[in-house]
């Protein structure tokens, strides 16, 4: 098991965002998280990637304990362990967050050199092969602002992959893109799924979730309402909230 989260709770001031989330992700599995906005999907990803601190619960990533709750108090691992854990995961953001002052190549190379300590030549080779895979080899020397949203998102995926994460998280990777550009991102994610990359994807693309995910999680109001194979969640659900959500979604 690559990821294990037990009884996560998260609140911002008085607003409870995650009520009691328990989730496991196995190696090679693709998990899609769907649900209405405000259901806590993104917050869940942000808690799992150390961008937010949980208020209660336990998180284990690749066998390393990241946070646990003892005597009603959350204890995070020491900073060295947290650093190792962050290197085990990658995160692709909704709005890419490329570094605008770095060329495309440098965006992918920089962390390899300065975080992993790889030598320049090796880092560059890795970056170029990832760019080739993303069909962006000719953009190596361009700057992020010169690329379309879809291209920027592919660079962001390459940047995350360059550090060889064991789990890759996607936070609504196509939501900031024009509809005609979402396809190219979904294609990349699909090809990663074929390579058995472990991925957790928060998405509004229902057809895609159904098609690519091994398991679908439906969240609403800070809890996991339903969890199962795409077949179970999308076609055979008996849960009224899931039904309502899917129906509302297909109407839009």
């Amino acid at each position: 098991m690559l990821l294990r989260a037990d009884n996560l709770q998260k609140h911002f001031d008085d607003t409870i965002v995650l009520k009691d989330i328990t989730l496991q992700v196995n190696e090679g599995e693709v998990v899609a998280i769907i649900g209405p906005s405000g259901s806590g999907k993104s917050t869940l990803l942000r808690c799992l990637t150390q961008l937010e601190k949980i208020n209660s619960g336990r998180i284990e990533v690749c066998g390393k304990r990241m946070a646990e709750t003892l005597d009603a108090k959350v204890h995070y691992a020491d900073s060295k362990t947290l650093h190792q854990i962050i290197l085990d995961v990658g995160l692709v953001f909704q709005n890419f967050n490329l570094f605008p002052h770095y060329s495309i190549l440098k965006n992918i190379v920089d962390a390899q050199i300065n975080v992993l300590g790889k030598d320049k030549k090796e880092a560059k080779e890795r970056a170029m092969s990832l760019l080739a895979k993303m069909n962006l080899k000719e953009k190596a020397n361009a700057y992020p602002s010169e690329l379309s949203g879809g291209q920027q998102q592919r660079v962001a995926i390459a940047r995350a992959l360059a550090l060889n994460p064991r789990i890759l998280f996607f936070d609504e990777p196509t939501s900031a893109l024009d509809p005609e550009l979402t396809g190219e991102i979904l294609k990349v994610i699909r090809s990663l799924a074929e390579e058995k990359m472990t991925m957790v994807i928060v998405t509004h693309e229902m057809a895609f979730a159904r098609d690519v995910a091994d398991r679908v999680i439906f969240m609403d109001g800070g809890v996991i309402v339903e969890e199962g194979t795409p077949q179970e969640v999308f076609s055979n659900t008996v849960n009224q909230r899931t039904k309502d959500f899917l129906q509302r979604f297909s109407q839009n």
Binding site: L87, N97, N114
Partner: protein
Amino acid sequence: MKVDNVPIEPLITEMLKATGTVVEIFFLTILIAIPLGFLVALGRRSRFKIISVPIRIYQLVFRGTPLMLQLFFFMYGPYYIFEFNIYERFTACIMAFSINYAAYFGEIFRGGIASIPKGQYEAAKVLGYTKLQTFMRIILPQVVKNVIPATGNELMTLVKDTSLAQVISVSEIFNIATKTGSRHFSTVPLIVAAVFYLIMNSGVEVSFKLIEKKFEYYKN
């Protein structure tokens, strides 16, 4: 040669010498006030009130009172307190300018740092950069680009503000101009002074256009 009874050659010679003083004030102030302003900006962003509040008060005092008054204060303050001057006229001048401009630069840099989107920090964190690496490699280079126009503006003001140094009898351009002008009952020295300021600020303007151009290779 004389214009309006003013002997031009000696005036120019004196003005050139005074320009040396102005250039000295200008560069010494930059050298001290920019790094200091940077610390001020970081201090203002500190989550510890014991750091951020005193810095805010310092900025309020030095941005909220006339630079001329601050020059007097640095010049004559020590004399009233200790009954002797602990430093020279020119040192007092540099102290007043540096501390005053650091307050302004602090505000410019603070705005520059605040303008970097949170996503940049988050992306860097998830990629495993340390806090120091994030700041030095990701945030700071973008801040520099963002603050160039405002900094250029501030430095043009600095060139003109050096004329205030005359109130503590530092022999700068304006000082020479008013002295020569009243000696010959003429406005010509003032016009010459204006030309000197204009030339210097053209230099500042052109330099900053070049620096801006250097950073045009990317857009935020």
